[in-house]
Symmetry: C2
Subunit: 469 residues, 2 copies
């Protein structure tokens, strides 16, 4: 993604442009907005000119949505293809709506395949066809071929620009080859060594080449390749490979084992961030969770989750309804109910968050599931005992009713232990059923802790003879 | 971190060793365990020998904790410094307890400063001094100097091995310099160009050097440096710079602007993952959330949170207690209460997760806070109206009480709108007070939605004249 001329402007950025956290300041954003609304395009361009592409992209995300089109018009060529590549997809879609197919085609032709695909894959089918028709034959073929792979797989995020050489080549010949071939990419961190069938057999860091005399064969410098990425591999899996093996770039192969692309770590950084964020957002049912997403999409994603939650809350209500007579006899039960449910839910969420992350990081496997369950059980016992003593004593004293204190203490202990089990069983089961544990776990865990909490508390109250049904 | 001989074994890894997700299979882990418990070190080493260092580290994480020391003893030299560097810190600490200071010193001397520091910083003070005393003078100075910086800052994660050259140097001279100096690092992706005071003025990707004729000056190839990392910068901030500017490596400078270290993206990948995971875990109050953490630590982290939650649950109980008389008159109120609280809590959590991630990613700034609040308000209105209609109609029908349906509908709408505001205000306020929004937001948000939910629902029930106090 980084081009030699990524930042064409060597000027010093004024101090009031970026704050301590490297974000555009409110004052700066407003000064650009004002220039645009005053139709002072010269001033707007002067202000934005020193910015890095990533900051220009941020600027579009920070202004109100109705200011984006005028801002783009005012900035003109400063809104380069690289700026679009850096931009939040929803904001980019907004802007692209104003462009025609040939303008979009011109922009994407300046990008590496992976960035061009990221822009084109978001277009509607008809628009996509129109843009593809405007591209020159080579770019069109590369992008069409990328689009044949599933979204979020290696085939979509790889670039087709890479350097591959035969193993008998000498270091000196390689350097000459790189100097003489103007149409090679300038952006690569490793070269791949391939056999005559173009299957990768090794990888060579550029630093190793630079530190080796000209008359040594590449085969003697390279590391044998162990981390080939099949083109259909899910991007989350690709990211885990990069993390596990500390990769900077990786060769992508097709079903025949031929080298067809390269994935670089700068793109993986965004995927790691996205996938980890996705888990926070999925666990809370916030859908895509992007602050630039259209309101309609956010509404649909979230309300669906709230309705699912409503269904599970009904189960808890049903349990309470069974004990209606008991509550009428002792309203203190209704007062204390939320404590049992809330702490139980929290304990379940803790274990669930730990399990979901461990599953996502491939740290929780069949080999250690039993040990981890044992571990969570012991933590739950400790937590449950602590909370039971606190709540039991407090309740006994406040309501001057030791029996009620005993009942809530035992109910808390039971519910926290159940919460511990639920927090690990539910994600592990979903994972074994090939479902995303982050997506559905919290509905089930909360339902279990709410229901079992009320059942234990109200059931024990009746069982102890304190109240009757 | 990657060494040329990172994977010293070119053998093909047997198919049953790694599963489809690239995790060690249970069968393989058990076969190694069995070999160790049979004292068959030859077999154990034969099995483990073909593995990548990262997989050997995983093996230690997967076996039971009491099997780890015997496994290390059986594997001998296969447990290299690089394996330790890849290992989960808690598992590594377990193992290191069995080693004496000179053994630890021998291991760390084989690592780059950043990895050596990562190992030594976890040792207890006395042990740390003993290990430092065993190191040779140069390594000791480097590590002691790294330890003077705060944990989780650039100074801790940078390595002191990098390549820096003056700007008048020609490409050809640079290549000769790299070939002739054996004590230079072999692991670098970019070189830094410095002025006579050793202040970085530019960065040069190795690919640009390899594609340029020998007689061109480095100054004509380099990109002017814009992303210098101050040595005291927080690692989360460093990671954001890498993501924003698509960096592969970055120069670290001291207060005088002198180049003192280099951070590479492979280490950043782990930080991005950790920081994003941290947010999931902090939001759920699961502390460190590491499945290898000692039980005692997990217990302390989690129970503290549960007790905080208990305090906030008491506020909700207090509200219910005020309305005790109303609940005695109509037990349906107690039955329906958890629905109001649960859905409200969920709606708040959704907005909160979105806000916390947007803050962490520097996407939510003073410039767009007002717009995002407006956005969340509109989503909350839509969600609230939808849920209000569903719950209101359902309640009215089930309890044959239209007034009760109306009361719960209005209460739901109010609580979901309040939840939307709380979900964004609480994290933004904590952020402005320089607190971590992920750490404390959910206690406050849940307290607000629980309390306001009960207050709205029971208050409206009384206000409508359906019940009295």
């Amino acid at each position: 993604m980084t081009e030699i001329n990524d930042t064409p402007h060597d000027e010093i950025i004024r101090e009031d442009v970026l704050d301590d956290d490297n974000r555009l300041t409110d004052e700066f954003v407003r000064s650009v907005s004002d220039a645009v609304s005053d139709n002072d395009t010269t001033l707007a361009q002067e202000l934005v000119n020193p910015l890095h592409n990533a900051d220009i992209a941020d600027l579009f995300e920070l202004v109100d949505s109705d200011e984006r089109a005028p801002l783009a018009a005012a900035l003109g060529d400063l809104v380069s293809a690289d700026v679009l590549a850096e931009m939040n997809e929803h904001v980019r879609e907004d802007l692209m709506d104003a462009l025609d197919a040939s303008q979009i085609a011109d922009l994407t032709e300046q990008l590496d395949t992976d960035d061009a695909v990221a822009i084109i894959e978001d277009l509607e089918k008809g628009e996509q066809q129109a843009v593809l028709a405007e591209l020159d034959a080579e770019d069109r073929a590369a992008i069409e071929s990328a689009l044949t792979y599933d979204e979020e797989t290696a085939g979509r995020i790889m670039q087709r620009e890479f350097v591959a050489v035969p193993e008998h080549m000498m270091v000196g010949d390689l350097i000459d080859y790189l100097r003489k071939n103007d149409d090679l990419t300038t952006e690569f961190w490793e070269i791949y060594v391939v056999d005559p069938a173009f299957r990768p057999i090794g990888t060579c860091q550029l630093s190793w080449i630079l530190r080796t005399p000209r008359d040594i064969a590449i085969a003697d410098v390279m590391k044998r390749e162990q981390s080939l990425i099949p083109v259909n591999m899910d991007q989350e899996e690709v990211a885990l490979r990069f993390q596990k093996y500390n990769l900077i770039s990786a060769a992508v192969i097709n079903d025949d084992g031929r080298l067809i692309g390269m994935i670089t770590v700068d793109d993986i950084l965004h995927i790691v961030e996205d996938e980890a964020s996705e888990d926070v957002l999925l666990l809370s049912g916030a859908g895509d969770g992007d602050i630039n997403e259209p309101i309609r999409n956010s509404y649909i994603a979230r309300v669906r989750w709230l309705i699912a939650n409503l269904a599970t809350a009904l189960v808890a209500s049903f349990v309470i309804a069974i004990f209606g007579a008991a509550i009428e006899q002792m309203v203190a039960l209704a007062v204390l109910m939320p404590i049992v449910a809330s702490i139980g839910g929290n304990a379940g969420t803790q274990t669930m968050a730990v399990s979901v992350r461990a599953l996502a990081m491939n740290e929780l496997t069949r080999s250690n599931t039993r040990r981890i369950i044992g571990r969570e059980f012991r933590i739950a016992l400790l937590n449950g005992a602590t909370i039971a003593v606190l709540v039991g004593l407090g309740t006994g004293l406040v309501f001057a009713n030791p029996m009620l204190g005993g009942v809530i203490a035992v109910a808390m202990l039971i519910n926290i232990v159940i919460a511990g089990f639920a927090g690990i069983f539910v994600p592990v089961m979903l994972d074994r059923l090939d479902q995303d544990p982050a997506l559905a776990s919290s509905v089930f865990v909360t339902m279990i802790t709410d229901t079992m909490g009320f059942l234990a508390f109200l059931g024990l109250a009746v069982g102890s003879g304190m109240v009757s049904l």
